[in-house]
Amino acid sequence: MAVFPSTAAAQAADRRRSRAAERGSTPSPRPRRRSQRSAYLFIAPIALGFLVFYIWPLLETFWFSFTSFGVFGGNTWVGGENYEGVVRDVTVGQALGNTVLYMLMGLVTLPVAIVLADLMNRRGLRGVPVYRALYFLPFVTMPAAVGLVWNWLYNGDFGMINEALSWFGVDGRYWVSDPSTAVYAIGAVMVWSHVGYYLIIFTAGIKAIPRDYYEAAEIDGAGPVRRFFRITLPLLSPSIFFATVICVINSLQQFDLIFVMMSPENPALGETQSIVTLFFKWAFQENAQGAAAALAFLLMLLIAALTYLQFRFQKRWVHYA
């Protein structure tokens, strides 16, 4: 726990020191004005950027969602018609189901990455930089190449995966064109391509845990498993919380992989469509930007609700210093 300077000592000190100490006595119900001002100054640059490039466009798009969107300009107000249309559309329900499925599959990445980060943090383990670099490769591979390579691996007649399965006498499938497997095939690639990314976050998080704690635990005779659960997990919890929030948001916005892996003629297209691919189809292919914007705002509502819940419940398991 942090050691707070006693107020009495601060009062006895000179002017400069006392100011510093007052600021230090957080959390106080009424923060001082100067501290407030510098906080706003810290936030101002990014807030300005957000305002221009995100908040304003967002408000503009919010307005779009109540209009019938002229493809080449000129919008007419239609009230809640777009939202009604979205709620009534059956493809939205399916896309929502798929999107939730992507989220659940995306979350699988986290335990995998935590365990890998922990394994790579083992003392005296050789070749760790090499492992880190290799696990990172999927993350640097260009999206177009990812789709292409995985479609080859998944190819029903000539793919490596079915080839390997046939060695064990298992009959493969048309993984990405079979409506019952396509969504999982994409999910697997999602995990594959994001493990390296969460690995970075968790590695940085684990490395921020002071070595002293591990040494103390080791002296107490705690084995690697015990150390993992007693030290790594609790002290990594701010990173885990962050990664979970990000992972939920990212996988609910799943788009790129579906876009590069699923051709328009794929019979399983409907079964793999996410809210954002549906948004893209409406907005940029079928020129229904108004309805598409409405759809996106409903997705944001869902994301906001889930994020709120996570923040609400973080106190139960996230340990800040």
């Binding site: 300005l48 305002l51 221009v52 304003w56 002229g70 493809v71 080449f72 300009g73 479609n151 998944y154 190819n155 029903g156 007649d157 000539f158 793919g159 048309y174 990405v176 064109s177 079979d178 051709s263 328009p264 003629e265 794929n266 019979p267 399983a268 297209l269 409907g270 189809k281 940029f284 292919q285 079928e286 020129n287």
Partner: protein
């Protein structure tokens, strides 16, 4: 509106300086400098860049005051980018247009009508195929200058035909001949199918729908409930059901064209524009061939072509027209044809293309012009095009009957067409 310009103005200041010093920056897409007008030409096909550059050179020699810059946007993002740029007013002055999008762009006022220019200059549009001219007109106004066309032909593999002891396809072939040959050519042990019955609008079923006497869209109504249309679709699903073609699941993973190039299917309906790619594959160059599409109740092939349209927001409409006109001229057509990538639409200029790949006998693609049907489109073509794979995917993978799927498609397509109005 005012607030936004204040905000953006404040932010622009530091970057305006950066832009002025070095960082290349252009507000719009066209500009005039030193008495020379620069216009931009938007296109998507890398293969055609070399040919287009030659055409531009010829154009600039004739019009010293104008220079043309190519803006290449890959096809997957071409329309997204164009639409965004259109809304912002930064679209190219002249750009490639296709049948799917023409009516939407014309209706939205994004294109400059060509009629005043055509009439003023007395340009004879009849040098281009009539189907293309109709494709690029909207409500009686011409909106784009055709440059090339594609028809569909029956590509076949002579070696596989020889092995099965079957005569090569020619203009005497009918649907029945195809069905019989596909059965004979299918050899499961060699992993060879007789034909690729791929679920593709332009390559396969739009052609057979026309040959059966059906239609895709007429007077704003869907044709998918029509008996003849369904007959045209069933031609393909039957081939899949009988095992003479891989199913659509297999062909999602490995396209029909890929199977043909790898000699895994003996016959494939494919585009004329693919000739140069076929020619690059040694096996197909050696023993590939192409014939006119076999006859159903009648003859038919889908014709589509690209055209140059002028942006209504272009600041240099006169220069843009001059270039669009040049793209549709005999001179440009000859240069284009000699590149061997695509068939020029200007009458009598196709020889160079046919001769550039003598082994194939590409003349059949031009012979088919007599009975070609235009690629169907409406104002929101993509909406009902997107419905097709969703609803026809089942029958093309051996699940569910084609008739009920097609009727469902007709109902949903009619709903979509209703919303266009």
């Amino acid at each position: 509106m005012r607030r936004r310009s204040l905000l953006t103005g404040a932010l622009a200041a530091p970057f305006a300086a950066a832009a002025a010093t070095g960082c290349s920056s252009k507000g719009g897409s066209s500009r005039t400098s030193g008495g020379r007008t620069t216009i931009s030409y938007g296109m998507w096909d890398t293969l055609q860049v070399a040919g287009t550059e030659k055409i531009i050179k010829a154009f600039e020699a004739e019009h010293p005051g104008i220079s043309v810059q190519i803006q290449l946007t890959p096809f997957p993002s071409y329309w997204t980018t164009l639409k965004t740029a259109m809304r912002g007013g930064s679209a190219p002055d002249v750009f490639w247009m296709n049948a799917v999008n023409l009516q939407m762009y014309a209706e939205g006022g994004a294109l400059r009508p060509l009629d005043p220019f055509i009439e003023r200059d007395g340009f004879d549009m009849a040098v281009h195929p009539e189907e293309l001219l109709r494709m690029y007109s909207y409500k009686g106004t011409r909106f784009a200058m055709p440059k090339d066309f594609d028809t569909i032909g029956l590509w076949y593999n002579k070696e596989l035909f020889d092995k099965a002891g079957i005569k090569y396809p020619d203009d005497s072939w009918t649907w029945d001949t195809v069905r019989d040959a596909a059965a004979e050519l299918t050899d499961p042990r060699a992993g060879v199918h007789g034909i690729a019955a791929e679920m593709s609008r332009q390559y396969t079923y739009y052609n057979t729908i026309a040959q059966a006497g059906g239609y895709v869209i007429r007077d704003g109504r869907s044709g998918f409930a029509d008996e003849r249309t369904i007959e045209g679709l069933r031609f393909w699903t039957d081939l899949i059901d009988k095992g003479h073609s891989p199913s659509q699941s297999a062909m999602t993973d490995t396209r029909g064209r890929q199977l043909y190039l790898s000699e895994k299917v003996a016959m494939n309906y494919d585009l004329s524009a693919m000739a140069s790619q076929m020619y690059a594959a040694p096996a197909i160059k050696d023993h590939g061939g192409v014939a006119v599409l076999p006859e159903g109740r009648r003859r038919g092939t889908v014709i589509h072509g690209l055209a140059s349209a002028i942006s209504s927001k272009s600041e240099h409409p006169e220069a843009a027209w001059k270039f669009a006109k040049f793209m549709g001229s005999r001179k440009a057509a000859l240069i284009q044809a000699s590149e061997g990538v695509t068939i020029s639409s200007y009458a009598g200029t196709q020889d160079a293309w046919v001769k550039s790949m003598p082994e194939f006998g590409l003349g059949v693609f031009i012979d088919m012009l007599d009975y070609a049907v235009p690629y169907p489109a409406s104002r929101r073509t993509t909406v009902w095009e997107n419905l097709q794979p969703q609803l026809l995917g089942g029958p093309f993978t051996g699940k569910g009957g084609i008739e009920s799927a097609s009727r469902t498609l007709a109902r949903q397509m009619d709903l979509a067409l209703e919303q266009e109005k």
